[in-house]
């Protein structure tokens, strides 16, 4: 098997293992850490898909910028919205 194909196979294996891991960990009572763990594992899976399957690792820097821009702007949307949602007294509405 060529090197590239081996990387693909390992990537797939890594994704499946991370899937099993995230599933298993979700049943452990970690409190507010559960979501952090789950999203961290999702990000790890995402990194594998983006770098290896989507070949970002071998792409020019401009592609990295475009790939990052979407995520960065998502962060802006969330971050600035939460200046309101984290501090608004009337939300959530209390019955």
């Amino acid at each position: 098997m060529s090197k590239a194909l081996r990387h693909l196979a390992l990537a797939w294996l890594g994704l499946v293992l991370l899937l099993v891991l995230t599933l298993g960990l979700s049943y452990l009572p970690l409190g507010s850490a559960n979501i952090v763990v789950a999203l961290t594992i999702a990000m790890a899976k995402g990194v594998i898909v983006v770098l290896i399957f989507m070949k970002l690792a071998h792409s020019p820097p401009l592609t990295w910028i475009f790939a990052g821009a979407g995520l960065f702007w998502l962060a802006l949307l969330f971050g600035l919205s939460f200046t309101d949602y984290a501090t608004r007294a009337g939300f959530p509405p209390q019955p």
Partner: protein
């Protein structure tokens, strides 16, 4: 004046003359003209709504329109002007026509995507017109919930579908520009030699790409909530109506930068050419464009100061709104510095550019007024805000649009427009505009609310002044329709470079041949090599004038 039948050398207009060769064209120049036709059509529809509004507001009790119809009028005016005129205006006409020419390319990166974008635009326009003819909607162009999702009568879902489809057209155009500017620049056209119009189109395209999808989702959520009767904006379920406003304004504030950035690009081109002087602070101007594009995403909450967001959030957004004014101010300073000791010609394009600088500055300064939390409590949802944004969008962006239209008219059509008429229209537009909108600052300060079909009688004089101004403005908009059309038939033949400007677009014939350049040009000079002292001008491909 020369005779009617002039033989223009083979150019993109006469290449092929079937309808199919136009509506399925791959030529960016033809796509630009197709868009020009579409947006002009919608400009007059939006203008018609504005006319009815201003006539109606001549009397305080509102005699012309029923309240419900009045609401539908300002809604239609907003939707049409924002999405079907202002946002596409400069990018789809001048952007499409000029981007390849200015960078020395034969066409955009994706010509078929380009014509597809026009068809998608028309589809969205058709859906909107259908919604309007069926009775329209009365939610305001901002579709606020819960009114739009639960209480509004009318074709809300159809209207948001129209805007959703329109968004695809925007994204397709923006994607094309971004890839084109990255990949198709001629040899020697470094990023630091790009005309500011190209930088402006690039910045605009980035904003279009990052903002429009969020609008799309906010519209989907409205449609779903209206259709299903349940949704995330519904307070009865514990949802938040303000969430819609966050999502909507995350797009709609950057949208106003989508409207102004191309205009700023045009103004930079006009000011340098008609002052015969290199732009002051080119690097600062490019950074300012990019800064406006980025910072424009950080301020959206200033539309929600009194809507119920937390005070802390209001403070953050107010601060950001002050910061975003800085790069805009830098641009105004740099245009002014460019004019200083320039050799100024007062041709029509320059009149429009000068009008832009003054009116945009007023609009921008009043933006700082409403960005101030305490003042906004008094001024929000009054005519002060209406005057503020019309100064920028109409006084600013529309002035620049007309300035660019006149400036590049000889390149696009091969004809010169009649200069005296054009200057007259520009001056009339400036006067009519100020008479229309300055009284609205006063009305807002006095407390007249926006979107009301009637008002207190003591405000009538200002409303009458405003409506009088609007009639002058309408006439000023109709004038170009006539004399520009006249110029197509009897205007004098334009040389390739009637302004002796430096851009690559002026090195092609007027009008250009289908492939723009016989051979890809090589760029050896910066974008604005105008020497005011010696009168020598060097075009970007090295050609010397004077």
């Amino acid at each position: 004046m020369t005779a009617v039948s002039i033989h223009l050398p083979d150019n993109y207009l006469v290449e092929e003359q079937t309808i199919g060769s136009w509506i399925f064209t791959h030529d960016h120049k033809r796509v630009a003209l197709l868009f020009f036709a579409s947006i002009t059509f919608f400009f007059f529809i939006g203008g018609f709504a504005a006319t009815l509004i201003r006539v109606h507001l001549v009397t305080p009790q509102g005699d012309l329109l029923q309240p419900d119809i009045y609401n539908r009028m300002f809604t239609m005016h907003g939707i049409v002007m924002v999405w079907f005129f202002l946002i596409p205006s400069i990018p789809t006409t001048m952007g499409n026509f000029l981007v390849p020419l200015m960078i020395g390319a034969h066409d955009l990166a994706f010509p078929r995507l380009n014509i597809a974008s026009w068809h998608v635009f028309n589809l969205s326009g058709f859906v909107l017109l259908y919604a309007l003819f069926m009775g329209g909607i009365d939610t305001g162009w901002t579709f606020y919930t819960p009114f739009s999702t639960a209480y509004a009568n009318g074709y809300v879902i159809l209207a948001v579908v129209a805007v959703f489809i329109n968004g695809f057209s925007t994204i397709m155009t923006a994607l094309n520009f971004v890839v084109t500017i990255h990949r198709l620049r001629a040899p020697g056209m470094y990023w630091t030699r790009l005309p500011l119009f190209i930088w402006a189109i690039y910045a605009t395209s980035a904003v279009m790409l990052l903002a429009t999808p969020v609008l799309a989702m906010s519209l989907v959520l409205i449609a779903l909530e209206r259709l299903l009767g349940v949704g995330v904006f519904d307070p009865a379920l514990g949802g938040d109506p303000l969430l819609f406003q966050h999502l909507f304004w995350f797009y709609s504030h950057p949208a106003v930068y989508i409207m102004i950035l191309p205009a700023m690009g045009v103004v930079s081109e006009l000011v340098t050419c008609f002052a015969r002087k290199r732009i002051f602070g080119y690097t600062g101007m490019t950074y300012a464009l990019l800064a406006i594009a980025v910072f424009g995403f950080l301020v959206w909450g200033h539309h929600m100061f009194t809507a119920g967001i937390s005070l802390y959030s209001g403070i953050v957004f107010s601060l950001m709104s002050f910061l975003v004014a800085v790069p805009s101010a830098i641009k105004v300073f740099n245009w002014t510095a460019t004019l200083h000791k320039g050799s100024i010609a007062f041709d029509a394009p320059m009149l429009y550019a000068l009008g832009f600088i003054g009116l945009f500055t007023m609009g921008g300064l009043t933006g700082l007024v409403v960005a101030t939390l305490g003042l906004d409590v008094h001024l929000t949802d009054t005519y002060f805000v209406i005057a503020h944004f019309h100064y920028i969008m109409v006084g600013g962006a529309v002035s620049a649009y007309f300035g660019g239209l006149h400036y590049w008219w000889p390149k696009i059509t091969g004809r010169m427009y009649p200069e005296i008429w054009a200057r007259g229209a520009a001056i009339l537009m400036f006067l009519g505009f100020n008479l229309t909108f300055f009284p609205q600052f006063i009305l807002g300060y006095l407390g007249m609310p926006r979107r009301y079909y009637a008002y207190a009688p003591e405000w009538q004089v200002w409303n009458v002044l405003s409506s009088a101004g609007a009639s002058i403005l309408a006439f000023a908009y109709l004038l170009p329709l006539f004399y520009l059309t006249w110029s197509l038939l009897r205007g004098s033949r334009a040389a390739p470079n009637p302004w002796q400007a430096t851009g690559l677009e002026w090195q092609a014939e007027s009008p250009p041949p289908k492939d723009n350049f016989l051979r890809t040009p090589t760029v050896t000079a910066g974008p604005y090599e105008y020497d005011a002292a010696t009168g020598v001008t060097i075009a970007q491909n090295g050609t010397v004038y004077g």
